[in-house]
Amino acid sequence: MRGGQWAKGPAFLGLFLVPALLCSCRGGHVPAKDLVIDGSSTAYPIVSAVADDFSKRNPGLTVIVNKSGTGSGMQKFLRGEIDIAAASRPVDAREAQALRAANLPFLEIPFAYDGVSVIVSRKNTWVDRMSLKELQNAWKQTSAVAKWSDIRSGWPSQPIDFYGPTDNHGTYEYFSEAMAPGSASLRRDVQTNQEYNAIVQAIADDRNGIGYVGLSYFAYNQDKVRAVPIDFGNGYVSPTPETIRDDRYRVLSRPLFLYVSKAAYDSRPDIRHFVEFVLSASGEDDVAETHYVKLPMEALSAVRRHVAAEKVGSVMEPGRALTVSRLAQLE
């Protein structure tokens, strides 16, 4: 008969007490020193890359990056659960209102450009290019388009499968504003997904599928999907770093942002250093490495000055015309 393990009664009871002790010593709730970032999953590839390089230079500091979507990230930022909110659109009026009500002055830091890419499967043989009008007619809520032939005669008489991110994503809000200016609501039968990789995969397999994702998710998957060149009125334009930077990819180009609270920026050197790191040459390299678009030099230095002066509030707030050219307003 083995089993001396249990012979010590008090030790056994002690084991029972362990969880009770563990639970009770939590009482003081030590403020977390970790740098917690959440929000846009469009920006996630860049932000996790920057966090990766940043933490290599600052060993001992913990950086946590999640990707619950711009809207969810903003909610968490508002509740004080996270230090930095990553966003693929500027704060909206409702959020700005709530931030004011919570007395939470914030810094807005544009750090990269993205082009919302409209993608179809490599198996799709007919879609060569589309005009903004055609896209809007297909995607808006009141759309009567059901088959490819409804968009352009000559295209197959096959039902279209629409794919896109769920509505907690900035990309959703941004794209719906571009497709239905003013009402910002898309057709109801879009198959939505939280994960961009899942959206890309679904479209890759579906020759009748069309959908929209951030540039990075298209760029990493060029073997499976194509980006549709779009005519915004001045000829057909594909999403590339060049067309996005010089604003030729018009209403589907947009800046990506970080939001930090002014109080935290002043009191937490780690947050300040992280923001500086994002705007450094190394941070911009991560932007390019993850297939997003670096800010042009002038814009970058404008943002740096903007941040150094700790200007609070959003320059993007008043309108919802969110094109790259708006960045010029920083000056």
Binding site: M1, R2, G3, G4, Q5, W6, A7, G9, F12, L15, F16, V18, P19, L22, C23, R26, H29, V30, A32, D34, V36, Y44, P45, S48, A49, A51, D52, S55, K56, G60, L61, T62, V63, I64, V65, N66, K67, E81, E195, N197, A198, V200, Q201, Y217, Y220, N221, T290
Partner: protein
């Protein structure tokens, strides 16, 4: 062909079919292991185990996830182990045999064992993360996992206690021991092998659980392993999930290598379990 030889042929064929069906399990296991080793082994090196997570698939390691997994699971077991064993001892040794309460407790345990782990994740989200305000911390993750594995600990411990011959109890009571002394000095030691088996099984179950931890907010990307119970964390299975769903092929081999790490840990634990059980079986036979 005579009726007799036809019946013999059917008999033999059926035996072969049953044997072949049994081999499917073996074939599945072998193909799983071969596939994972094939995909993962080239990526698995010492630096993979010691490096931090990275956005570059060729640079990424699993260190924070492995430490996070071990941290969370040890805390889980520190909670579920004692509570589970005590419940089992109560139900098997102390509770009145024919009471309605005891019957209810047994039913409850059996039903808890059948609740999908993602539902425990929802409970953890509503109760530990939101209501208790623990947030996405090691503690809330471990509390949730403790709920997941608790029924398993209780049930295996009950079986272990039931396998202790009642003559052991009667003999120690006859020698003048109190019930508590009998349990502590005779029954628990006699059942200890089975109880340890249960704890190891629960440990490996907790180690492989993904869904409940994702629901209560394990992080996608974290640069360092957790250092305290209030810290954010990630676990090995969650990184496997995240990397498997990434578009970049480099992450698929990282996922396979992480899977290999997880499977090696779990196979190690299961081998201990099986070896221990065979030893227990022998001890009882002799």
């Amino acid at each position: 062909m005579s009726l007799y030889s036809r019946r013999r042929a059917v008999d033999r064929a059926f035996g072969w079919i049953c044997g072949a069906a049994t081999l499917v399990g073996l074939a599945a296991l072998v193909s799983i292991l071969v596939k994972i080793a094939w995909d993962g082994a080239p990526r698995l090196g010492p630096s993979f185990l010691t490096s931090a997570l990275s956005h570059r698939p060729e640079e990424t390691g699993v260190a924070p996830a492995v430490v996070g997994s071990i941290f969370v699971v040890l805390l889980t077991m520190a909670m579920a182990g004692p509570v589970g064993i005590c419940s089992a001892v109560y139900m098997e040794e102390l509770a009145p045999v024919r009471s309605r309460m005891t019957w209810l407790m047994r039913q409850a345990t059996n039903n808890l064992a059948g609740v999908p782990s993602v539902v425990y994740g929802l409970i953890g989200l509503a109760v530990f993360v939101r209501w208790f305000g623990l947030g996405a911390s090691v503690l809330s993750g471990a509390l949730t996992l403790a709920l997941v594995v608790l029924p398993m600990v209780v049930i295996v411990t009950q079986q272990a206690l039931r396998s202790v011959p009642s003559s052991y109890r009667e003999a120690s009571l006859a020698l003048g021991a109190t019930q508590w002394q009998a349990i502590r000095t005779v029954v628990l030691p006699a059942a200890s092998q089975g109880i340890w088996t249960g704890l190891l099984l629960a440990f490996s179950r907790a180690m492989g659980e993904t869904a409940p931890l994702m629901v209560v907010g394990a992080a996608y990307y974290v640069t360092t392993p957790p250092r305290g119970f209030g810290d954010s964390y990630t676990v090995l299975p969650m990184q496997i999930f995240n990397w498997s769903s990434d578009a970049r092929k480099g992450f698929h081999s990282a996922a396979a290598a992480a899977t290999l790490v997880l499977v090696l840990i779990l196979l190690g634990m299961n081998t201990i379990v099986l070896a221990r059980r065979n030893r227990t079986a022998k001890a009882f036979r002799s």
